[in-house]
Amino acid sequence: MAAIIEVKDLVKVFDGKIRAVDGITFDVQEGEIFGFLGPNGAGKSTTINMLVTLHRPTSGLAKVMGMDVVKEATKVRRVIGLVPQDLTVDDDLSGRENMILQADLYNVPKKDAVERINELLKLVKLEDAADRMVKTYSGGMRKRLELAEGLIHRPKILFLDEPTLGLDIQTRTIMWEHIRKLKQEHNMTVFMTTHYLEEADSLCDRIGIIDNGRIMALDTPATLKRSLGGDVIQMSIDDARDFTPQIQGVPGIVEVKKEGSEYRVKVIKGDTAMPAVLKAIIEAGGTVSSVSLQRPNMDQVFLEYTGRSLRDAEQAENSNRGERMARAMAAQRRR
C-alpha cells in the first residue's frame, strides 16, 4: 500500500515562540483510519491545519497524495474534505442551502449534487431539519451538517478534527458507524483527532499519541495495549497475612504489588489466570472480598507514553477551552 499522507519533520511555531508542532514524522496509508490522540494543546489541530493547507508549516514537509501542501495547495484542496473543530456552517442559511453552497464551491456536477445532498442529509439524519435555518440547530446537528458538507465532493481523504466532541453517546456511535462505512464503501482515508480514548481505540486502525507537539508512540491500538504487558487483577483480601507468595506460584503471573489489603497482580492473560489465583488464595485459607479484572486501555497506554494520564494532562491545560473540554469529558465518563 502506498502512503497517501507523508509527513516529515513537520514543525509549526506560532509567534516565534510557541512550538505547537515540534518535528513530527509519520505516514498514513490509503484506506486507513488514522487517529491522533492527545490532550488539549497537544498540537492536533495545528497538524491538521497544516495538512489541509490552512497553516503554512514553519519547516518540514507534508504531502497529500504526493502533492506538497504548500506548493500545490489548490490541488490538495480538491481531494480533501475537512470537518474542522470550530464549525464553519453558515447560521443564516438553511441546512440544505449550506449543502448547495458547498456543492457549488467544489464544483460537484449539478445533476449529481441534488441527489448527493439528499443522500448525505439522510445519512446524518438531518432530512427533517434540512430546510430550517442552521441557527435553530443544536450543537450536535451543526456538527452532523458539517460532516455532511465535508463529504459532498467525495474526498479521497477526510480530515476530522474532534468529530464527536460535544455529541451525546448515541450520536457519537452513529458518527462512528458513518466513518467506518465511508472507509469500507469508498476506500476513503480518514485522518482524525480525538481525545476520547474509546474512540481512538474502537475506530482507528492506527493511533499516534501526541503530546506537546511530539509523537510519543504510533501503532495499532492492540499493539499499543499489548506493549503494556497484559492485564491487571485487582483484589482485596481482608487478612493480616501476605498472600504474595501464593499468587506468584500461579503460572503466567508477571508481578504482584500489595498495598495494605489491596493487591495489584499483573498477568499475561487475566481471564484464564484469575480462577487459578483465586483458587490459590482460598486454598491458603484467605477470603477474597472483591476482585476485578482490568484489561489495558488507552488511558494506561497514554499514561505509559506521556508519563501522565490523559485526564491530568487535560487539567494541566489552563485555558478556558481546555477546562470546558475536560469537564465535558468527565461528564461523558460519568454516564
Partner: protein, 273 residues
C-alpha cells in the same frame, strides 16, 4: 469560476434580504438626513428670490439645495452600503465561514469579487429607493422634493447608475481589502469610521465646492465621491458647468474601480493563502 462566484453572491444577498432590519437601518439614515438636513438647511429657501440671481449656478444646476443634496446622497448611500462588505468579511472570519472558503479549491480572488458584487447590488437598490423617496417628497404638503431637469430621461438614469456602480465597486473593494488585512473587528470598525466621514465631508456630495476653503477643494477634487456626485448632477439637472466633464468623471471612477478590484484580488491572494 462563475458558479462559485454566483453561489457566494447568492449567499450574501440571502443574508441581506433575510435580515429585514438591516435594509431598514441602511435606509433610515439617508431618509432622516434628507428629511432633516435637506429640508431644514434648504439654504436657497432662506432668502427671498433675488432678481437676476439663479441659485442653480452654484448648485451644479440643482434648482434648490434639497435637490442638490438628494442627488449627492445617492453617492453617500453607495459609500455607506459598501462599508458593510468589509464588516461582513470580518464576521465570516469570526464565525469560521472564511475557513471553509480557505480550504475550498476556489480561486482566492472570488472571495472579494463575489462580495463586491453583492455590495454593489445592495448599494444600487438602496440608492434607487432613496431617489424615489426624494422625488416623493414633492407630494407631501409643506415639503420640497427633488426636482429633476425637465429633459431627464432613461439615458440620464442609466448614466447615474453607471457612476454609482463604479463608485460602489471601488469603495466595496477598498473596504474588503482593509478587512482582509485587518483581522481585528474593532480596529476595522475604527478604520472604516475614520475613512467614511472625511470622505463624505471632503467631497461635493453634500456641499458645493465653492463653499469650501481652497485646500479642501483640492482634496474634494480627487475624491471619487465628488466625481460620482457631480456626474449624477450632470445627468439629473443637465448641468452645463460640472466640476469635470462627465466623461472624465466616469473615466476617473472607472480607473478607481479597476485599481481597487486589483488591490482586493491581490490582497486575497496574499492574505487568504
Amino acid at each position: 469560476m462563475m458558479r462559485e462566484m454566483w453561489a457566494l453572491y447568492v449567499r450574501e444577498m440571502k443574508h441581506w434580504y433575510r435580515i429585514k432590519i438591516q435594509i431598514f437601518m441602511a435606509l433610515i439614515q439617508p431618509i432622516v438626513w434628507l428629511g432633516l438636513f435637506g429640508q431644514s438647511f434648504n439654504i436657497t429657501g432662506f432668502f427671498p428670490p433675488v432678481p437676476g440671481f439663479d441659485p442653480s449656478t452654484f448648485l451644479s444646476g440643482a434648482p434648490d439645495y434639497f435637490s442638490y443634496m438628494a442627488t449627492g446622497m445617492l453617492s453617500v448611500i453607495a459609500l455607506f452600503t459598501t462599508m458593510f462588505a468589509g464588516m461582513s468579511l470580518v464576521w465570516d472570519r469570526r464565525f469560521g465561514f472564511l475557513t471553509k472558503l480557505r480550504v475550498s479549491p476556489i480561486a482566492r480572488g472570488i472571495v472579494p469579487v463575489s462580495r463586491m458584487n453583492s455590495a454593489v447590488t445592495r448599494a444600487i437598490i438602496q440608492a434607487l429607493i432613496v431617489l424615489l423617496i426624494a422625488l416623493g417628497f414633492a407630494y407631501i404638503p409643506g415639503l420640497i422634493g427633488l426636482t429633476l431637469s425637465p429633459e431627464f430621461n432613461l439615458i440620464d438614469l442609466l448614466g447615474m447608475v453607471l457612476a454609482l456602480v463604479l463608485l460602489a465597486v471601488g469603495f466595496a473593494c477598498l473596504f474588503i481589502s482593509v478587512a482582509l488585512a485587518v483581522e481585528n473587528q474593532d480596529t476595522l470598525f475604527g478604520l472604516i469610521n475614520l475613512l467614511n466621514l472625511p470622505v463624505m465631508f471632503a467631497s461635493a456630495a453634500l456641499l458645493p465646492l465653492a463653499f469650501m476653503p481652497d485646500w479642501l477643494q483640492a482634496v474634494a477634487k480627487v475624491n471619487p465621491l465628488t466625481w460620482a456626485a457631480d456626474a449624477c448632477r450632470t445627468f439629473a439637472f443637465h448641468n452645463a458647468n460640472p466640476i469635470f466633464p462627465v466623461w472624465q468623471e466616469i473615466l476617473f471612477l472607472g480607473i478607481f474601480a479597476a485599481i481597487m478590484i486589483g488591490v482586493s484580488v491581490f490582497a486575497a491572494r496574499k492574505l487568504l493563502k
